[in-house]
């Protein structure tokens, strides 16, 4: 899983409203799904298919996503839809999982479950997601260099998520988990500006006499 989805600058710079309740729920379901999948030795397959389901099917069919989330459509109907749409193309385990979610009225939280699965899967397989923001798009050599270098430092296999952000001017900002390594030109300029401002005000009071005429 190399370079993943490429975010465009038009999208909001942050993941919009985060629902910590949904996150908690997603984590719990993800744990159950991965537990069952690893027992059956199907982890990679199930994760891939879940990714595909969320990224390609649900995000492109708003009607389906709405139907999954709607409490007005009852469990049997949802199960029937799941069977008809996914029974052939997806692993039976994932289909069963979807039905379990349907029976508990949680189908609307599929995206949160996917996030949970990814996080947990990364943890289990010793991978880590690094979000790399640069002013210009990365080319292949740079990409592999960054991944290799980060992998050495962090001691884990690194998945890169690339963001192009022109406001950085140059350099790059890498975010791993909640830690940000900022070596961008704009970040450095801000730091210089702050330092000059602070230093200047203290110097100003120190040698007020000298500076004023």
């Amino acid at each position: 899983m190399g370079g993943e989805t490429m975010e465009t600058p038009e999208e909001p710079r942050h993941e919009s409203v985060m629902d910590t309740g949904a996150e908690q729920l997603g984590k719990t379901y993800a744990q159950a799904l991965l537990g069952a999948a690893s027992k059956a030795g199907l982890t990679d397959k199930v994760v891939d298919q879940l990714n595909q389901l969320v990224d390609q099917v649900l995000s492109r069919n708003e009607g389906l996503a709405a139907a999954f989330a709607s409490p007005r459509i009852d469990e049997e109907e949802k199960c029937r839809v799941i069977d008809r749409l996914f029974a052939d193309s997806y692993d039976p385990m994932l289909v069963r999982f979807l039905k379990v979610m349907a029976s508990r009225g949680r189908l609307g939280q599929l995206a949160a479950v996917r996030e949970g699965v990814l996080a947990l899967y990364d943890e289990l397989s010793g991978q880590v997601l690094a979000k790399v923001s640069t002013a210009v798009p990365l080319d292949e050599t740079l990409r592999s260099k960054i991944a290799e270098r980060l992998g050495q430092t962090l001691g884990k296999k690194v998945r890169l998520q690339e963001v192009v952000d022109e406001s950085l001017i140059g350099g790059m900002v890498v975010r791993v988990g909640d830690t940000v390594f900022d070596n961008s030109v704009s970040g450095r300029l801000n730091a210089v500006a702050k330092r000059a401002r602070d230093g200047f005000s203290s110097r100003l009071s120190e040698k007020f006499e000298q500076l004023s005429q």
């Binding site: 909001p12 710079r13 942050h14 993941e15 919009s16 409203v17 985060m18 910590t20 996150e23 908690q24 975010r175 988990g177 909640d178 830690t179 940000v180 390594f181 900022d182 070596n183 970040g187 450095r188 730091a191 210089v192 330092r195 000059a196 230093g199 200047f200 005000s201 203290s202 110097r203 100003l204 009071s205 000298q210 500076l211 004023s212 005429q213």
Partner: protein
């Protein structure tokens, strides 16, 4: 005033040349929601309780609630320009404020930012706002007096250096006035004073600063204010910040006096924050740890052992009661934490007894240990005498005929009450208090008209200062009331009375 642009350019050039370009590593989170001075932040997974965080607009926050999926942050600054999705940066340090001589004479906010237009506080020393108070082994008993300059207090509820004495009473009963007089009286005594205004009107704080300046007290006083319009987190932090500044002097072997005006408003601010953070409400909707909030603050006032320099912080917390209700939650809490309380009452205040202290229910648990010997001698029976007088007064109102002895006792009582009145901003030295109280308790005032007592005292003290300044110095130096001094005092009183004619 003109600045030389060459000089400025060279300063800037130096700053840029010295700039060390390191990769900036920071722990970050994202604002989920913000409002009412608090923010919920997603991320910041490694942040510790009480750690400082920074918002993009430069505002500082404190990690207050660590929850499973988010961090509750209290914002000490402008929260109106913080938006959902803003990046929050953990700073990896605890909140600290500037300390040292540079803060003396300043009016600051709880973060140490200037509010007096005199520019930033220039100091290299800072102290953490929250520390754990010194332990048992690092302390010693309170024995040194901390004179407030108010006769009624120094005589009946003496305060020692390192003590916590609560001033409690309804609104408009002169609580702040007592504290301000205590600050004014520290002039020339080497005590640094800190007046911490919490949730007060900015106009009241301005008038306090004005008074302090007028009487020359700003030379040794720092005013820390989080006014009524400051966000609740700042009001909550103010007492801790002020105490941190005072601790600089205490640990340096000096003495400090801290006035918290008032802690009931701080408790209200803390309640607001806790409720917004969804901590469970308890009695009067205060959170469960509001007691700890005050106890850990007041525990930091102490008298250090000689090995640590023997410094001290004396604190005068103020609590405002509603309709004299001392059994409400916060008043009972703070009463139980402090080493005594000065109880001021509206009825006394309006009947002209000012300071309106009720000696019957005001106590100082340190007691005589914090008085000089001379004061102990003259003030020994004062509290009991006044209590007896109050009982007798109630009885006398029934209109019964009294025998001459009772009548005499009653007359003495009226004069003592009159003598204990004291105008604002006129603290008296301990020697002056002793001679004045001596005259009252020994009956030298019995032939003075009740209405004339205050004038008599004023003229008498003037006379003593003018003609017998040596006696006052001698008393201050020896501290005791030897027979020789008693003789001198009596002769001075006789001398004064012989030539005194009350003004009509």
């Amino acid at each position: 005033m003109k600045f030389s642009s060459d000089e400025i350019a060279s300063v800037l050039q130096q700053e840029i040349e010295n700039f060390d370009s390191k990769i900036d590593v920071r722990e970050v989170g994202t604002v989920l929601e913000v409002g009412d001075g608090i923010a919920r932040v997603y991320g910041l997974s490694g942040v510790m309780a009480g750690e400082m965080v920074e918002f993009p607009n430069g505002a500082i926050g404190l990690a207050f609630n660590l929850e499973e999926n988010s961090v509750g942050v209290i914002i000490l600054g402008d929260y109106l320009t913080i938006k959902e999705g803003d990046e929050v940066k953990a700073l990896g340090t605890l909140l600290s404020v500037p300390a040292g001589d540079a803060v003396v004479g300043r009016v600051l906010d709880p973060l140490g930012n200037p509010l007096d237009g005199k520019g930033p506080v220039q100091t290299d020393s800072t102290r953490p706002v929250e520390i754990i108070a010194t332990g048992v082994a690092e302390r010693q008993p309170v024995t040194e007096p901390m004179q407030t300059g108010i006769k009624a207090i120094d005589a009946m509820t003496p305060i020692g250096r390192g003590q916590r004495e609560l001033i409690i009473g309804d609104r408009k009963t002169g609580k702040t006035a007592i504290a301000i007089d205590a600050i004014l009286n520290q002039k020339g005594k080497g005590v640094k004073c800190f007046y911490i205004a919490i949730g007060q009107k900015d106009s009241s704080v301005a008038s306090v600063v004005d008074v302090l300046e007028k009487y020359g007290a700003m030379e040794y006083t720092t005013v820390i204010t989080a006014g009524a319009s400051s966000p609740a987190p700042l009001q909550y932090m103010a007492p801790y910040a002020g105490t941190a500044m005072a601790e600089y002097f205490m640990f340096g072997g000096g003495h400090a006096l801290v006035v918290y005006d008032d802690l009931s408003k701080q408790a209200t601010a803390y309640r607001q924050m806790s409720l917004l953070m969804r901590r469970p409400p308890g009695r009067e909707a205060f959170p469960g740890d509001v007691f700890y909030c005050h106890s850990r603050l007041l525990e930091r006032s102490s008298k250090l052992s000689d090995e640590l320099g023997g410094g001290s912080i004396t604190s005068l917390p103020i609590i405002e009661t509603l309709e004299g209700e001392v059994s409400a939650y916060i008043p009972t809490n703070v009463i139980s934490i402090t080493d005594g309380q000065i109880y001021v009452q509206p009825d006394l205040f309006f009947s002209g007894v000012r300071p309106a202290m009720n000696p019957g229910i005001s106590v100082s648990r340190v007691g005589g240990a914090a008085q000089i010997k001379a004061m102990k001698k003259v003030a020994g029976g004062l509290r009991l005498d006044l209590a007896a007088f109050r009982a007798l007064e109630a009885f006398a109102q029934l209109g019964t005929d009294l025998d001459p002895a009772t009548q005499a006792q009653l007359d003495r009582g009226y004069r003592m009450v009159e003598l204990l009145k004291q105008p604002q901003y006129q603290p008296l030295s301990v020697a002056e208090q002793v001679v004045s109280l001596y005259a009252g308790t020994k009956g030298f005032l019995d032939d003075v008209e009740i209405k004339q007592v205050q004038q008599w005292e004023k003229d008498f003290l003037q006379f003593v200062n003018d003609k017998h300044g040596g006696l006052l110095t001698e008393m201050t130096e020896s501290g005791a009331l030897s027979d020789e001094i008693v003789e001198k005092i009596e002769s001075v009183i006789a001398d004064f009375k012989a030539g005194y004619k009350p003004a009509e």
